[in-house]
């Protein structure tokens, strides 16, 4: 079976008044129907990775190198019609802010139907009944009435359900979810996560779930890839990442939670801020903030170690305990 996603040595640079090295040598692969969480803080390149996957970056200002294959198709070479069929048909996306990602002047039914008509070539009436079916599938009550509502007439959670219905209407093989629960409150968050998980099983599609919330990542995904400064620094199954985080950054992320903290005690955090990406990192980008950094860390990029099957970590320290024994 062909891999759902095969990303090799992806580099994205934004040119302009100053150059930003947003993505540096990212490789990623996914099997069919797999759920992967891309975990990282703001500016670590999560959203850029997703936008690159859909070819949404402004072509004039961005320079993209490397190769991306989705279901064996090289998407970097897609142009015109083929690209439009790929976007929304093969891969689609759920945006962070449902309030901004739905067009305010059209009813939600119209917006879902528009996408269905484009991809399936059916008439308006058929597309509308598909839209109705999708609203039912994302558990929107009295969908028939909601179909003719404008986005501002719906609540935040409801809008995100609509956004999911819109993204799934054409049965994509891969769903990109860009922090879909960040703009929602906690009780709605968990409903949306459960819904996404159910729909993922129902449709058997792959999901890349971008988040900065490690709890959300654990809830939804089978595998986790941690991004820092435009690189993937650690990848493994969710279990491996939780039980056996090797990279000091991942360990720091896991330690920075609210559990087991006594009242009045300071919460543990990773000191410092991520580096500005104006130059391509030539040493470990985490070294300045790393509690266990060694001189070697500042000399060269750390090698990618592979302690297990589809398990990798970019840290010199990760190899050490084994070497010490």
């Amino acid at each position: 079976m062909t891999k759902l996603l095969e990303m090799k040595n992806l580099n994205v640079r934004f040119k302009g008044k100053r150059t930003v090295h947003a993505i540096n040598d990212v490789s990623l692969s996914m099997d069919q129907g797999e759920t992967l969480a891309l975990l990282g803080e703001s500016g670590s390149g999560k959203s850029v990775t997703l936008k690159t996957l859909l070819g949404l970056l402004p072509p004039k200002r961005s320079q993209i190198d490397g190769s991306i294959h989705v279901n064996g198709v090289d998407i970097m070479s897609l142009r015109g019609r083929a690209l439009q069929r790929y976007r929304g048909g093969e891969v689609s996306m759920v945006f962070q802010e449902p309030a901004l990602a739905l067009d305010p002047v059209y009813t939600i039914g119209h917006q879902i139907a528009e996408s269905v008509m484009r991809h399936k070539g059916v008439d308006k009436a058929n597309a509308m009944s598909t839209a109705l079916d999708m609203l039912d599938r994302v558990r929107i009550p009295s969908a028939n009435r909601r179909l003719h509502n404008y986005p501002h007439e719906l609540s935040g959670g409801m809008r995100q359900r609509v956004m999911i219905a819109l993204a799934l209407a054409c049965r994509p093989r891969l769903l990109l979810a860009d922090e879909p629960t960040t703009a929602l409150d906690a009780t709605v968050q968990i409903q949306i996560l459960l819904l996404l998980r159910e729909l993922q099983k129902e449709f058997g599609m792959g999901v890349i779930f971008v988040t900065h919330d490690i709890g959300v990542a654990v809830e939804i995904s089978e595998r986790v890839a941690v991004m820092y400064a435009g690189q993937i620094i650690e990848e493994g199954t969710t279990h491996e990442i939780i039980r056996d985080a090797r990279h000091p950054y991942t360990q720091g992320l896991l330690a920075a939670n609210l559990h087991d903290v006594a009242r009045g005690e300071r919460l543990s955090a990773i000191p410092g801020a991520p580096p500005a990406l104006e130059a391509r990192p030539d040493s470990c980008p985490f070294a300045p903030r790393c509690p266990v950094a060694m001189p070697e860390c500042r000399a060269d990029l750390p090698p990618m170690l592979a302690p297990g099957d589809r398990r990798r970590v970019a840290c010199l320290r990760a190899a050490q305990p084994i070497a010490a024994e």
């Binding site: 439009q84 901004l100 067009d103 109705l132």
Partner: protein, 296 residues
Amino acid sequence: MAMADSTTLPTPEKVEKSKGYWSGVGHRLVRDPLTMFCLAVVAALILSAAFAPYLGLADPYKGSMIARLKPIGAPGYPLGTDEQGRDMLARLIYGGRLTLFIGLMPVVIAFFAGSVLGITAGYVGGLTNTIIMRTIDVFFAFPSVLLAIAISGALGAGITNSLVSLTIVFIPPITRVAEAVTSGVRKLDYIDAARATGANAWTVIRVHVIGNVLSPIFVYATSLTSVCMILAAGLSFLGIGVRPPEPEWGLMLNTLRSVIYVNPWLSALPGVMIFVTSLCLNLLSDGLRSAMNVRD
């Protein structure tokens, strides 16, 4: 799990017909008495002007030396006569034809031209934007009245030339509004979202950009109609617009100016028409703005 009971799919029901955008706008308009009143006044003015020949009015061009400057309410002349003895009622209604035409046409043309320019500049951006917007900025160096007078003066008096000069005056402000709204919309997520569902550039512009920018541009343009009417009347008043003996409110205001001490009420009549029309157009545009806004 909370949602487990609702996981069974209901059988697909038949899709109800949607009410549509314009019927919603109509509903909100009907519930706004002031806007409806203004709409009625404007409609009455336009209809009476359009059907003036069938209203059984006196000939607006035929003067009479013995019936000059009859006061308002004189027998046979409900609104009196002007300085050449021509029936004022007929001249005011016939005058509406030219005044409304010159007042509305430039805005209509400028609405299309300005929208095309502004949306292009706003969506394409970069060098195209710079070229269009800096050219437009040149026109902002002159006050609109002065610009209209200068262009009309250069082209010479006449209806066509007034139309041309007023159109040129109104393209820049409409372009600027269109550009501002479009470049705001272009950055929003739903444009990216539309592209992410496979819409091509043309669909994105036609459906998502124009759908969102057209109503603010339209409302802005309606607010310009009253300004345009006053400018057109001003051009005629200055003698570089419509030429006598054509009935036109601005021109009538000018010719009746000389008799303001003889019969002040009479000379105020064309001004009242201009005032009422522009006020109603302004209030109408306010009402439209709130009725066309589906967001709140």
